[in-house]
């Protein structure tokens, strides 16, 4: 498979974006809105002009600022799927797909299960159908690289889940270097084998999703992976344990080593919830009122003071968890990560 290598700087309205990235299979960039995610795609597609750096597909230079090369969008073999799909409203589905290239229109309509919609106008389609048309159109161009801008953001929560599965399968079949940007970490994990966290115009961490969850390099990465992040300050080191005093005054213990202002990272699924205090191996204990209970699939997310814990539906019922009830949350020192706060 081909490799897209991008290493460039882009001057945006309020900040500068710098990025070095090789896309071989599927990479997802996550980050808050305003982090410059879409601008990365636009720069690769040729809709924005980098101030410096290089963008190349295999040996083929698309941008090389030093050598004065910057190809027009139509000279790059790129398939960009826009956030709200940008289908041509005045053209039928078939004509939209054919706009990218006439050779494989029927095959693509078939493959994306939109043959029956060939004569329809985009405004008559559902969100999922529009996405399939946008993908088919991008592929009709025979691109060397596929770029997806928030592919699931324009869909309502109900369709999103099924479209995500569908998209997963489709991407696996394309065998194209693919770069996805999304603000949703779960979407990123579902769609890509490598995830990069983009904050304030810079790539904070790039790696496999498990890597980001297990050892986040900084608080942003931690909060993006859905982990709890508790602010505190280290107050002592003893027996290989670091003691952290939280802003709320409570003491926590971690097997990680750090000094000064830190964020204590702990994942919701590493936290046990009980009605009574249990004297077990978990060193860290936080008690508090249940703030909220939210069902997520077959799990329940419980908010206890500053923490979010995840328990099974059965446990939640057994413990008779309810808002306002006092519970104990415990987690092991080995289940925490300390990330320095700047």
């Amino acid at each position: 498979m081909a490799t897209l290598s991008a290493d460039f700087a882009l001057r945006l309205r309020s900040f500068e974006l710098r990025l070095a990235l090789d896309v071989e299979r599927t990479v997802a960039l996550v980050g808050p809105s305003g982090a410059g995610k879409s601008s990365v795609l636009r720069a690769i597609a040729g809709l924005l002009r980098p101030a410096e750096g290089r963008i190349a597909l295999d040996g083929d230079d698309w941008v090389d600022v030093a050598r004065g090369i910057c190809l027009e969008p139509d000279e790059r073999r790129v398939g960009l799927v826009f956030q709200d799909y940008a289908l041509f409203p005045h053209l039928s589905v078939r004509a939209n797909v054919a706009y990218g290239g006439r050779d494989r229109v029927d095959e693509l309509l078939e493959r994306f299960r939109i043959s029956h919609l060939a004569k329809a106008r985009p405004r008559e389609l559902s969100g999922g159908e529009r996405q399939r048309v946008a993908l088919a159109r991008a592929l009709a161009r025979e691109p060397g690289v596929l770029l997806l801008d928030e592919p699931l953001a324009a869909l309502d929560a109900h369709t999103k889940a099924s479209v995500r599965v569908e998209l997963q399968e489709l991407l696996a079949g394309f065998a194209l270097p693919t770069l996805i940007v999304t603000h949703d970490y779960e979407d990123a994990v579902a769609l890509a084998g490598t995830v990069g966290v983009l904050v304030d115009g810079g790539l904070r961490q790039l790696g496999a999703p498990e890597e980001l969850v297990a050892s986040p390099r900084d608080p942003f990465v931690a909060s993006f992976t859905g982990a709890n992040l508790l602010h505190g300050r280290t107050v002592g080191h003893e027996n290989g344990l670091t003691t952290v005093r939280l802003e709320s005054g409570e003491l926590l213990y971690s097997t990680d080593d750090a000094d000064g202002e830190v964020g204590v990272v702990v994942h919701p699924w590493d936290i046990s919830v009980g009605r009574a205090y249990l004297d077990d191996s978990a060193l860290n204990l936080v008690s508090g009122e249940v703030g909220s209970l939210v069902q997520v699939g077959n799990r329940v997310r419980v908010r206890i003071g500053p923490l979010t814990a995840e328990v099974t539906e059965a446990s939640a019922e057994r413990l008779e968890l309810a808002r306002g009830g006092v519970v104990f949350a415990s987690f092991k020192a080995t289940g925490t990560r300390l990330v320095p706060l700047s």
Binding site: L12, G31, S33, G34, A35, G36, K37, S38, S39, R42, A45, G46, L47, E72, P73, D74, R76, V78, G79, L80, F82, Q83, D84, Y85, A86, L87, F88, P89, H90, Y99, G100, G101, R121, P122, R123, G127, R130, R137, A138, A140, R141, D149, E150, A153, A154, V181, H183
Partner: protein
């Protein structure tokens, strides 16, 4: 009580406004019996004026489309210093009193005008010719078209243009296959407004082109020339213009009501920049 008084005032005001606007139009058709009106329309003054009017307006519209469309597109899509000033300058003829437009055209292109000697050197003399009629019409009507066309081009979603480019279309192909079709309704609306304005052009034409029957005498000029000589004929010309204008307005209404929205899926989410 006060509520009723307000309602009476509003209805009263509306009635006065309506009667005031409609009465002159109705009067044109009632002063002279319809049969005679039709008969008068076959007089040479009317047919000559009709030919001059339509010829000049059609040529002017062609020029407005050819020169105005690219200008409107650039003004709609480019951001540069002085853009607002430029747009204001382009729109100025719209609010200029027709007499000022006429004197301006004379001062620029007339025999003793700014370009007068250049034109004379080239063997061109525009004043008091049909060319002058075309220029007067184009001068007063084109800002209406350009203004509407700028709005139409601005309404085309820039993402659709970007999509076209990434799909391998160059900027020319993108313009003709995406931008133009999506702006077409707005352009047609602007065009019919400009057409109506051009057809009714009076002040600038009479000053810059004169009122020669069969050469520069357009329909409105013919009304002016006839109303002291043959009032009935002037009325017949008036009736003709009312009919044409009504047809234009109706066309415009149809164009505007048949408008596929340019944006198809407005996202409820803020775009991630």
């Amino acid at each position: 009580m006060r509520r009723r008084l307000l309602a009476v005032l509003f209805f009263g005001a509306s009635a006065v406004a309506l009667v005031f606007l409609v009465l002159p139009v109705v009067a044109i058709f009632t002063r002279v019996p319809p049969g005679r009106l039709l008969h008068l329309l076959s007089s040479p003054v009317v047919t000559d004026a009709l030919v001059v009017s339509f010829k000049a307006t059609a040529i002017a519209q062609g020029l407005i489309l050819v020169f105005g469309t690219p200008a409107a597109y650039l003004l709609a899509t480019r951001r540069f210093r002085g853009r607002t000033l430029l747009v204001t300058l382009v729109e100025l003829p719209l609010v200029l009193p027709p007499a000022v437009a006429g004197i301006g055209l004379l001062a620029a292109f007339g025999r003793f005008g700014l370009l007068g000697s250049t034109f004379r050197f080239l063997g061109i003399d525009v004043s008091f010719t049909q060319t002058a009629v075309v220029m007067a019409v184009a001068f007063v009507a084109s800002p209406l078209y350009i203004r509407t066309a700028i709005a139409a081009f601005e309404a085309v979603d820039p993402d659709l243009v970007a999509a076209s480019r990434t799909l391998g279309a160059g900027s020319t192909r993108t313009f003709f296959r995406v931008v133009l079709p999506l702006a077409a309704n707005g352009l047609a609306a602007g065009e019919s407004l400009a057409f109506a304005r051009g057809l009714g052009e009076f002040g600038a034409t009479i000053m810059f082109a004169g009122s020669l029957q069969g050469v520069t005498q357009t329909l409105p000029l013919a009304i002016y020339a006839e109303f002291s000589v043959n009032f009935d004929l002037a009325l017949a010309l008036g009736a003709l213009l009312v009919a044409i204008s009504a047809a234009l307005l109706l066309t415009l209404r149809l164009i505007l009501s048949w408008r596929p929205s340019p944006r198809i899926s407005p996202s409820v989410f803020a775009p991630s920049s």
